[in-house]
Amino acid sequence: MRRIYMSSNNTLLEEKSKAARKSLLKVVHHAGAGHIGGPLSAIDVLTALYFKEMNVEPTNPYKVDRDRFVLSKGHSAIGLYAVLAEKGYLDQKELYTFDSLDSRLQGHPDMKILPGIEMSTGSLGQGISAAVGMALGAKVQDQSFRTYCMIGDGESQEGQVWEAAFIASKYELDNLVVILDYNKLQQYGWVGTNTERAVPNDLVEEKWESFGWNVIRIDGHSFEDILEGFRQAKLVKQKPTILIADTVKGKGISFMENNYLWHSRIPTDEELSLALKELDESGDL
């Protein structure tokens, strides 16, 4: 897998995703709560969506023709908040209200209180269905906006994901792009670490193809791959597209990468300092 931060073509995206990584680490450390591993695997795709792919305006967050994004794996909320803050939907300092009373930054995204959040999620399997509803709503009303949705591989154990997959295909939702954050780990490490206990997670491409989807496999940490995936999705008609994004849980922080214990562990002061240093920050707290 290609290393991130090395490409010269996407400087802005690299800067933004790095900044969002720093923010989410600091916020989770500050709040003493939240997830880290999943947001770190998701954040490059989120950055590409908000800074390159989607038609959105933070100053006009409810404009009718905006593209929609649904974070179906809602527990990666802090990753999304960090990107929304970079984009200008909220102040950096508001990030530090995460998970506290009266905050707009709930542990799981709440569409009613934070502009930019298009659907309340957190109970897994539901967001993709809502995204199907949005894409279907665009179709039947002849509206041109596109709908994007990120799901997790652990989340894909929910049967509702496949109910949604079936309906998206039935209604030929070529205005829908789902990104699978395929980091191959979940909270208790089932997907990739222990083959005896693993939930079957192979043949992912075949599964989605058999549901009638346009399947594109990408490196979920390569901006070239991600943007090319989005570009190719637009070329395919009468089929929804899934980008199967190979990602690394904990991506960007060496001692967090591929360690399921960092699903929702809170870094100590020392760990935070080490992590920030890896992101080229001084590490001073």
């Binding site: 569409m111 659907m119 269905s129 509803g133 894409a135 709503g137 309906i167």
Partner: protein, 321 residues
């Protein structure tokens, strides 16, 4: 008039016709089916207005989440399935994506209660009122007849927010005429009385009216209040009737736990403690059988309403009520 002498009509037909009219006339309205269109009769929309009909397959969880997504785009989805599946199978989706964000989704629980066409306990819904009224932002309605069904749906269509309507499968006496105006938060006094008040919801109201007639023959004067809106609920009228008659019987085709009776008990315990008898399905599971057999075995027929009226009338006049 005794309810059994009244003309009956199909609640399903009324529902189907009204939904068809809404779909034709309101560009926002789309109808979502969980592959029960022949049972619920929304096939009329599918056949005559197919562009407004969305087949979601046998996947209720996805159907309700899709409805939420559609609602965010400015549409007004009407999701239709059996009450059992709406209230239990899709509950988490409804809470997280419809009730909490207060999205404009109308949820139809067809085939509610016990009388679901010999389908048995998997298809009966005896918990849906309790479940839906415990959800913040939710409106919970249950019409008594075909006329009220149509009026209620027209109201729901112009209301901005989630609404659950519990419908019945079979034909029921027509209690209202076209001049009837449905108002949420308002009960309807169908019969005046002085000794006790029978409060009912949904199609149980026709049996409540019959029971009042029989009680009158036994020299017990019973008021009958129909509550088509369980949430919001007409607290003022409930308290007024409790204070006036000093005895209450609640009647519902639902579990005695957490439904109409529970809602009324909560209000009266806090405002006007009054003896109450609860007519509803006790703490047990049901089965498939004829309507008459089920009403008897599960103790919700007219006879049981009459007995509850007699009991509460005795209690109100005793020192230990």
């Amino acid at each position: 008039m005794q309810a059994s002498q009244l003309k009956t009509a199909s609640m399903r037909d009324s529902f189907s016709e009204t939904l068809y009219q809404l779909a034709v006339n309101d560009p926002r309205v789309f109808v979502l089916d969980g592959d029960l269109a022949t049972s619920t009769k929304i096939e009329k929309v599918a056949k005559e207005c197919p562009q407004k009909f969305l087949q979601m397959g046998i996947a209720e969880q996805n159907m309700l989440s899709v409805a939420a997504g559609l609602a965010t785009t400015g549409l007004q989805p009407w999701a239709v399935t059996f009450a059992a599946f709406m209230s239990k199978r899709a509950l988490d989706q409804i809470q997280v994506q419809i009730a909490q964000p207060k999205l404009n989704v109308k949820m139809i629980g067809a085939y509610s209660g016990l009388l679901t066409g010999v389908t048995g306990k998997t298809h009966q819904a005896l918990e849906d009122i309790a479940i839906f009224r415990s959800l913040a932002n939710m409106t919970v309605l249950a019409p008594a007849d075909s006329v009220e069904t149509a009026k209620m749906m027209e109201w729901a269509n112009q209301y901005d927010g989630p609404v659950y309507i519990r419908l019945a499968r079979d034909n029921y006496p027509i209690l209202f005429d076209d001049s009837y105006v449905f108002k949420p938060n308002k009960g309807v006094v169908l019969n005046e009385g002085t000794d006790l008040t029978i409060i009912s919801t949904g199609t149980a109201t026709s049996r409540a009216l019959e029971a009042a007639k029989i009680l009158k023959q036994n020299n017990i004067s019973s008021a009958v209040v129909h509550l088509p809106s369980i949430k919001p609920i007409d607290q003022e009228l409930i308290i007024e009737m409790a204070v006036k008659t000093k005895a209450i019987v609640t009647v519902e085709e639902h579990s005695i736990y957490g439904g109409l009776g529970g809602a009324i008990a909560e209000i009266l315990a806090a405002n006007a403690p009054t003896p109450i008898e609860f007519v509803g399905v006790k703490d047990r599971n049901s089965e498939s059988a004829s309507n008459e057999a089920l009403l008897e075995k599960y103790e919700i027929s007219t006879k049981y309403i009459v007995e509850a009226g007699q009991r509460v009338n005795l209690r109100k006049n005793s020192d230990f009520n």
